[in-house]
């Protein structure tokens, strides 16, 4: 804790000294009379100012929250020597906001303890650190002040809010474990697939008696079994576009959290790849623990500018299991992601690309040169989209004003109309 004199205290001292010297030099007592109140003010500042010996703690009412929640920061302050004027402010990271501001002014008597509650609004997902609390304590005339910090930084995990989805993108291939996805294979299940002749070992309950009566031999039902699938969420962290308080990376993280949660509820295994300047990955697994692992990894993901070449070879083989559904969330800003995704498609992965559109975040073109550059850029994005579609990859655009469910429905429609390679 350090004490600082206000510039006014030095100014008053200088005025008092100048008045005394001027009085001595000019022989006029009026100069001394002018100096007297300022000398008194300096004396008052020196006598009233005292180190408040402030101590305290900073706590949060919880460690995890969701976007839109309100978290209460509780500050307990004790001034052993008292503070006539105490101003406290809690510096807020960009993920948090405060309705009435995070600053407060109060008085604290000697030995008194005061508890303050500051409601904080979780505006954006992330893993911000809240604290320490900054304070300025001073005498009643604000001629001397003491500055310092109270409390330790507290980690708060703000999870992304989820989009509403009516259905998920069904995979082309399923895995061998049971789940909620209807497999294309034939076996025991609920969805009817086909009829075939009875073979030794078939259960009697599978016999289709009506077909058997018509054909004069035993025919059995075949169903599509319910299997799970492996889903890998592939997030482009090379670059983003930000504007109007939002960004493409924020929306991509919200979409990834939503998809991870929904697929895990369907007993699927979900993995994560953060492909960018900083590579991160999670091997596919199932259960709520995997959901928390995925969301915690997403919270710490950030756009890191890098010129290094990145390929899917750099990822551990278990990160991308065979026949996995890869859902890529990318704003189409970096060619390295396009190269990696087309590489995945060439290796036979079931790939879906969701373009997180940055066009709505851009400022309008200022002149004809800007407009021409914007048009060329849009054409290059169209060309990239065409490359994906030629490879049989469904590419859907997710604009800022539409729910995530809309582009995912387009994927289903694309697959119905086009036969994947």
């Amino acid at each position: 804790m350090s004490g600082i004199d206000s510039p006014a205290l030095s100014a008053y001292a200088a005025l008092a000294a100048a008045g005394l010297v001027a009085g001595l030099a000019s022989g006029r007592v009026e100069a001394v009379a002018l100096a007297a109140p300022f000398a008194l003010a300096v004396l008052a500042g020196a006598l009233l100012g005292r180190d408040p010996r402030l101590t305290g703690t900073l706590t949060l009412d919880r460690e995890r929250a969701v976007e839109g929640d309100t978290v209460t920061a509780t500050v307990e302050l004790t001034a052993a020597a008292g503070a006539d004027r105490l101003e406290v402010v809690l510096p807020l990271p960009e993920e948090l906001g405060a309705e009435d501001g995070a600053a407060l002014a109060l008085s604290l008597g000697p030995g008194r303890t005061r508890t303050l509650e500051l409601p904080l609004r979780c505006d954006r997902w992330g893993a911000p650190r809240v604290g320490p609390l900054l304070f300025r304590a001073g005498d009643v005339l604000a001629l001397r002040s003491w500055y310092g910090e109270i409390g330790e930084p507290r980690l708060l995990r703000v999870y992304p809010s989820e989009e509403t989805l009516r259905s998920l993108v069904p995979p082309l291939e399923t895995q061998v474990f049971s789940g909620n996805q209807v497999s294309r294979a034939r076996g025991e299940g609920i969805e009817f697939a086909d009829l075939r002749e009875w073979h030794r070992g078939d259960r009697l309950r599978r016999v289709n008696w009506r077909a058997s009566a018509r054909r004069g031999a035993l025919w059995v039902n075949e169903q599509h079994p319910e299997r799970n699938t492996d889903v890998v969420l592939f997030i482009d962290t090379f670059a983003e576009v930000r504007g109007r308080g939002s960004g493409t990376h924020e929306r991509a993280v919200r979409a990834a959290a939503t998809l991870a949660h929904r697929y895990l509820l369907h007993k699927d295994r979900v993995g994560l790849v953060g492909f960018g300047g900083f590579l991160s990955w999670l091997v596919p697994a199932s259960g709520m623990r995997q959901l928390y692992a995925i969301v915690d990894t997403l919270l710490e993901s950030d756009i890191v500018q890098s010129y290094a070449q990145r390929r899917v070879d750099f990822l551990p083989p278990r990160t991308l299991p065979p026949k996995a559904l890869v859902v890529a969330l990318t704003p189409f800003l970096d060619d390295r992601v396009a190269t990696a995704l087309l590489d995945l498609r060439a290796r036979g992965y079931d790939l879906v690309v969701v373009e997180v559109s940055p066009l709505e975040l851009l400022e309008p073109a200022r002149d004809s040169l800007d407009a021409l550059a914007a048009r060329l850029w849009r054409l290059s994005r169209e060309a990239l989209r065409w490359r994906y579609e030629q490879a049989g990859v469904p590419v859907v655009t997710w604009r800022d004003d539409m729910p995530l469910a809309a582009p995912l429905e387009e994927v289903t429609a694309f697959r119905r109309l086009a036969r994947p390679a």
């Binding site: 005025l15 009379a33 008052a44 002014a105 005339l141």
Partner: protein, 133 residues
């Protein structure tokens, strides 16, 4: 010029500019008295208090530019402190003018009193400068 500097200090929010504004105003007052070879001016304590109030209220207005929730209670305390300081300053100025106006003679006693006052003022200044922060 003092008034212009005061306006500038209020606009820019600078305490140092405020000090110069007060210094210029005070110097203009004393200079006018000296130029007119005026006798002892009995309104000097009022001028001194007015200058102090000017400085304190200007500082307060600059501090209030950052609005903070709950600043009402400390504001009432500060208002009382400024008023008390102004009254004390008026009394101190009045004593200085009153002592100067009182008929006095010459002699060792008055010289000693003046020397003690000068040493005392210097000692207080030294103590203020050397106190720990």
């Amino acid at each position: 010029m003092g008034g212009a500097l005061l306006l500038l200090a209020l606009v820019r929010g600078g305490a140092r500019t405020l000090g110069w504004a007060l210094a210029l105003a005070g110097a203009a007052y004393v200079g006018a008295l000296a130029a007119r070879r005026h006798g002892l001016d009995g309104t000097a304590p009022l001028v001194a208090t007015a200058l102090l109030l000017c400085g304190e209220l200007a500082r307060w207005s600059i501090d209030l530019r950052v609005r903070i929730r709950g600043a009402e209670l400390p504001a009432r305390k500060r208002a009382a402190a400024v008023a008390a300081l102004a009254l004390a300053g008026l009394a101190a100025s009045g004593i200085a003018v009153g002592v100067a106006a009182a008929p006095t003679g010459h002699g060792l006693g008055w010289t000693l009193l003046g020397a003690i006052a000068a040493v005392g003022a210097t000692g207080v200044g030294a103590w203020l400068a050397r106190r720990p922060v």
